[in-house]
Amino acid sequence: MNEEKILRITGIIAIILVTYFLILTVTYDFPTFGLPVQRVGQYYIENTLKDIGAWNAVCAIVWDYRGYDTLGETLVLFTAVIVVVVVFKVGLRERNEYNR
Protein backbone atom coordinates (compact mmCIF):
# COMPACT_ATOMS: atom_id res chain seq x y z
CA MET A 1 0.00 0.00 0.00
CA ASN A 2 1.39 3.37 -0.93
CA GLU A 3 1.66 6.45 1.23
CA GLU A 4 -1.64 8.03 0.27
CA LYS A 5 -3.72 5.09 1.32
CA ILE A 6 -2.04 4.91 4.75
CA LEU A 7 -2.73 8.61 5.30
CA ARG A 8 -6.39 8.32 4.34
CA ILE A 9 -7.02 5.34 6.63
CA THR A 10 -5.27 7.10 9.51
CA GLY A 11 -7.45 10.16 8.97
CA ILE A 12 -10.67 8.15 8.97
CA ILE A 13 -9.70 6.23 12.13
CA ALA A 14 -8.78 9.47 13.91
CA ILE A 15 -12.14 11.05 13.05
CA ILE A 16 -14.05 7.97 14.24
CA LEU A 17 -12.19 7.98 17.57
CA VAL A 18 -12.82 11.71 18.10
CA THR A 19 -16.53 11.21 17.32
CA TYR A 20 -16.76 8.38 19.87
CA PHE A 21 -15.19 10.41 22.66
CA LEU A 22 -17.27 13.48 21.83
CA ILE A 23 -20.51 11.50 21.98
CA LEU A 24 -19.50 10.12 25.40
CA THR A 25 -18.74 13.66 26.63
CA VAL A 26 -22.02 15.06 25.33
CA THR A 27 -24.16 12.33 26.87
CA TYR A 28 -22.70 12.35 30.37
CA ASP A 29 -20.97 15.69 30.95
CA PHE A 30 -23.28 18.29 29.42
CA PRO A 31 -26.29 19.87 31.21
CA THR A 32 -29.62 18.17 30.57
CA PHE A 33 -31.39 19.17 27.39
CA GLY A 34 -34.33 21.44 28.25
CA LEU A 35 -33.00 23.11 31.39
CA PRO A 36 -31.27 26.30 30.34
CA VAL A 37 -28.51 27.89 32.38
CA GLN A 38 -28.64 31.47 31.05
CA ARG A 39 -29.90 34.41 33.05
CA VAL A 40 -29.42 37.20 30.50
CA GLY A 41 -32.07 35.64 28.26
CA GLN A 42 -34.58 35.81 31.11
CA TYR A 43 -33.89 39.54 31.52
CA TYR A 44 -34.41 40.11 27.80
CA ILE A 45 -37.74 38.26 27.80
CA GLU A 46 -39.14 40.21 30.76
CA ASN A 47 -38.00 43.72 29.86
CA THR A 48 -38.42 44.02 26.09
CA LEU A 49 -41.96 45.38 26.25
CA LYS A 50 -41.01 47.96 28.85
CA ASP A 51 -37.75 49.21 27.29
CA ILE A 52 -38.39 49.14 23.55
CA GLY A 53 -42.09 48.52 23.03
CA ALA A 54 -41.69 45.69 20.52
CA TRP A 55 -43.47 42.37 20.61
CA ASN A 56 -40.63 40.51 18.88
CA ALA A 57 -37.82 39.93 21.36
CA VAL A 58 -35.36 38.55 18.78
CA CYS A 59 -35.62 41.64 16.54
CA ALA A 60 -35.16 43.88 19.59
CA ILE A 61 -32.02 41.99 20.59
CA VAL A 62 -30.57 42.07 17.07
CA TRP A 63 -31.08 45.81 16.50
CA ASP A 64 -31.20 47.42 19.93
CA TYR A 65 -29.53 45.44 22.70
CA ARG A 66 -26.75 44.00 20.52
CA GLY A 67 -26.71 46.51 17.67
CA TYR A 68 -22.93 46.67 17.22
CA ASP A 69 -22.74 43.00 16.23
CA THR A 70 -25.29 43.57 13.49
CA LEU A 71 -23.30 46.57 12.24
CA GLY A 72 -20.19 44.39 11.94
CA GLU A 73 -22.13 41.68 10.14
CA THR A 74 -23.48 44.19 7.62
CA LEU A 75 -19.89 45.23 6.95
CA VAL A 76 -18.85 41.59 6.37
CA LEU A 77 -21.68 41.08 3.87
CA PHE A 78 -20.69 44.25 2.04
CA THR A 79 -17.05 43.13 1.80
CA ALA A 80 -17.92 39.64 0.56
CA VAL A 81 -19.84 41.02 -2.41
CA ILE A 82 -16.94 43.33 -3.25
CA VAL A 83 -14.67 40.25 -3.25
CA VAL A 84 -17.00 38.46 -5.69
CA VAL A 85 -17.05 41.45 -8.06
CA VAL A 86 -13.28 42.00 -7.97
CA VAL A 87 -12.41 38.32 -8.65
CA PHE A 88 -14.25 38.39 -11.97
CA LYS A 89 -12.92 41.66 -13.38
CA VAL A 90 -10.58 41.31 -16.35
CA GLY A 91 -7.14 42.76 -15.63
CA LEU A 92 -5.41 45.33 -17.81
CA ARG A 93 -2.86 42.93 -19.37
CA GLU A 94 -5.52 40.35 -20.18
CA ARG A 95 -7.68 43.02 -21.80
CA ASN A 96 -4.79 44.15 -24.02
CA GLU A 97 -4.09 40.58 -25.10
CA TYR A 98 -7.76 39.92 -25.80
CA ASN A 99 -8.12 43.02 -27.94
CA ARG A 100 -5.04 42.30 -30.03
Partner: protein
Amino acid sequence: MSIIVKTVSRIISPLMLVIAAYIVLHGQVTHGGGFQGGVLVACAFILLLLAFGLDFVEEKVTFKFGQCFRSLGALMIIVVAFIGMFFGFWFFKNVGVYPYGFPGEVFSAGSLPLYNLGEMANVSASFLVAFYFLIREKRRNKK
Protein backbone atom coordinates in the same frame (compact mmCIF):
# COMPACT_ATOMS: atom_id res chain seq x y z
CA MET B 1 -36.98 26.05 -19.97
CA SER B 2 -40.32 24.46 -20.82
CA ILE B 3 -43.57 26.36 -20.94
CA ILE B 4 -44.86 24.97 -17.63
CA VAL B 5 -41.85 26.34 -15.75
CA LYS B 6 -42.15 29.74 -17.43
CA THR B 7 -45.86 30.11 -16.67
CA VAL B 8 -45.61 29.00 -13.05
CA SER B 9 -42.64 31.22 -12.29
CA ARG B 10 -44.41 34.17 -13.82
CA ILE B 11 -47.34 33.63 -11.43
CA ILE B 12 -45.39 32.90 -8.26
CA SER B 13 -42.71 35.59 -8.44
CA PRO B 14 -44.96 38.63 -7.64
CA LEU B 15 -46.56 36.67 -4.79
CA MET B 16 -43.13 36.16 -3.30
CA LEU B 17 -42.51 39.92 -3.42
CA VAL B 18 -45.77 40.63 -1.59
CA ILE B 19 -45.01 38.11 1.15
CA ALA B 20 -41.49 39.54 1.49
CA ALA B 21 -42.93 43.04 1.98
CA TYR B 22 -45.16 41.69 4.77
CA ILE B 23 -42.26 39.96 6.49
CA VAL B 24 -40.01 43.04 6.36
CA LEU B 25 -42.56 45.61 7.51
CA HIS B 26 -43.87 43.52 10.42
CA GLY B 27 -40.41 42.73 11.75
CA GLN B 28 -41.08 44.13 15.20
CA VAL B 29 -44.52 42.52 15.64
CA THR B 30 -44.07 38.94 14.48
CA HIS B 31 -41.37 36.60 13.23
CA GLY B 32 -39.13 37.99 10.53
CA GLY B 33 -37.19 41.17 9.99
CA GLY B 34 -34.62 42.56 7.64
CA PHE B 35 -32.53 39.53 6.64
CA GLN B 36 -35.37 37.12 6.06
CA GLY B 37 -37.33 39.52 3.84
CA GLY B 38 -34.22 40.51 1.90
CA VAL B 39 -33.35 36.92 1.04
CA LEU B 40 -36.93 36.33 -0.12
CA VAL B 41 -36.80 39.36 -2.45
CA ALA B 42 -33.52 38.11 -3.95
CA CYS B 43 -35.04 34.63 -4.44
CA ALA B 44 -38.01 36.08 -6.32
CA PHE B 45 -35.67 37.61 -8.92
CA ILE B 46 -33.46 34.52 -9.04
CA LEU B 47 -36.51 32.38 -9.85
CA LEU B 48 -37.19 34.61 -12.86
CA LEU B 49 -33.51 34.40 -13.83
CA LEU B 50 -33.49 30.62 -13.79
CA ALA B 51 -36.66 30.36 -15.87
CA PHE B 52 -36.05 33.03 -18.49
CA GLY B 53 -32.29 33.52 -18.77
CA LEU B 54 -29.74 36.05 -17.59
CA ASP B 55 -30.36 38.68 -20.30
CA PHE B 56 -34.05 39.00 -19.50
CA VAL B 57 -33.47 39.93 -15.88
CA GLU B 58 -30.28 41.92 -16.30
CA GLU B 59 -31.87 44.62 -18.45
CA LYS B 60 -34.46 45.18 -15.73
CA VAL B 61 -32.21 45.16 -12.66
CA THR B 62 -28.81 46.26 -14.02
CA PHE B 63 -25.53 45.90 -12.21
CA LYS B 64 -25.26 49.65 -11.55
CA PHE B 65 -28.74 49.83 -10.07
CA GLY B 66 -27.92 46.92 -7.78
CA GLN B 67 -24.77 48.60 -6.50
CA CYS B 68 -26.59 51.89 -5.85
CA PHE B 69 -29.46 50.19 -4.02
CA ARG B 70 -27.07 48.21 -1.85
CA SER B 71 -25.08 51.29 -0.90
CA LEU B 72 -28.23 53.25 -0.11
CA GLY B 73 -29.37 50.52 2.25
CA ALA B 74 -26.09 50.51 4.15
CA LEU B 75 -26.06 54.33 4.22
CA MET B 76 -29.56 54.41 5.71
CA ILE B 77 -28.44 52.24 8.62
CA ILE B 78 -25.55 54.61 9.42
CA VAL B 79 -27.69 57.76 9.13
CA VAL B 80 -30.39 56.40 11.44
CA ALA B 81 -27.67 55.38 13.91
CA PHE B 82 -26.30 58.93 13.97
CA ILE B 83 -29.67 60.61 14.59
CA GLY B 84 -29.52 59.75 18.29
CA MET B 85 -26.28 61.66 18.70
CA PHE B 86 -27.87 64.95 17.63
CA PHE B 87 -30.29 64.85 20.55
CA GLY B 88 -27.65 64.30 23.18
CA PHE B 89 -27.70 60.50 23.49
CA TRP B 90 -25.14 57.89 22.44
CA PHE B 91 -24.48 56.19 19.10
CA PHE B 92 -27.15 53.63 18.07
CA LYS B 93 -29.73 54.92 20.52
CA ASN B 94 -33.27 53.92 19.72
CA VAL B 95 -35.11 57.25 19.32
CA GLY B 96 -38.83 57.71 19.66
CA VAL B 97 -40.01 54.68 21.59
CA TYR B 98 -43.19 55.61 23.40
CA PRO B 99 -44.56 58.91 22.13
CA TYR B 100 -44.75 57.60 18.57
CA GLY B 101 -46.76 54.44 18.54
CA PHE B 102 -48.27 51.58 20.50
CA PRO B 103 -46.78 48.10 20.68
CA GLY B 104 -48.35 45.65 18.29
CA GLU B 105 -48.66 47.85 15.24
CA VAL B 106 -46.42 48.55 12.29
CA PHE B 107 -45.43 52.02 13.51
CA SER B 108 -43.94 51.12 16.86
CA ALA B 109 -40.65 50.31 18.58
CA GLY B 110 -38.75 53.47 17.69
CA SER B 111 -36.31 53.19 14.82
CA LEU B 112 -36.52 49.40 14.36
CA PRO B 113 -38.65 49.55 11.14
CA LEU B 114 -36.07 51.88 9.53
CA TYR B 115 -33.27 49.46 10.35
CA ASN B 116 -35.26 46.61 8.86
CA LEU B 117 -35.85 48.49 5.60
CA GLY B 118 -32.17 49.37 5.25
CA GLU B 119 -31.13 45.79 5.88
CA MET B 120 -33.62 44.50 3.31
CA ALA B 121 -32.16 46.77 0.63
CA ASN B 122 -28.63 45.73 1.54
CA VAL B 123 -29.14 41.98 1.60
CA SER B 124 -31.39 41.61 -1.46
CA ALA B 125 -29.24 43.67 -3.82
CA SER B 126 -26.05 41.98 -2.51
CA PHE B 127 -27.20 38.46 -3.31
CA LEU B 128 -28.62 39.39 -6.69
CA VAL B 129 -25.39 41.09 -7.82
CA ALA B 130 -23.25 38.20 -6.55
CA PHE B 131 -25.49 35.72 -8.40
CA TYR B 132 -25.08 37.65 -11.67
CA PHE B 133 -21.34 37.19 -11.53
CA LEU B 134 -21.40 33.55 -10.49
CA ILE B 135 -23.67 32.44 -13.31
CA ARG B 136 -22.08 34.24 -16.25
CA GLU B 137 -20.24 32.09 -18.77
CA LYS B 138 -16.89 33.22 -20.02
CA ARG B 139 -14.68 31.85 -22.69
CA ARG B 140 -11.45 30.41 -21.36
CA ASN B 141 -8.21 32.17 -22.15
CA LYS B 142 -6.95 31.37 -25.61
CA LYS B 143 -3.55 29.85 -25.01
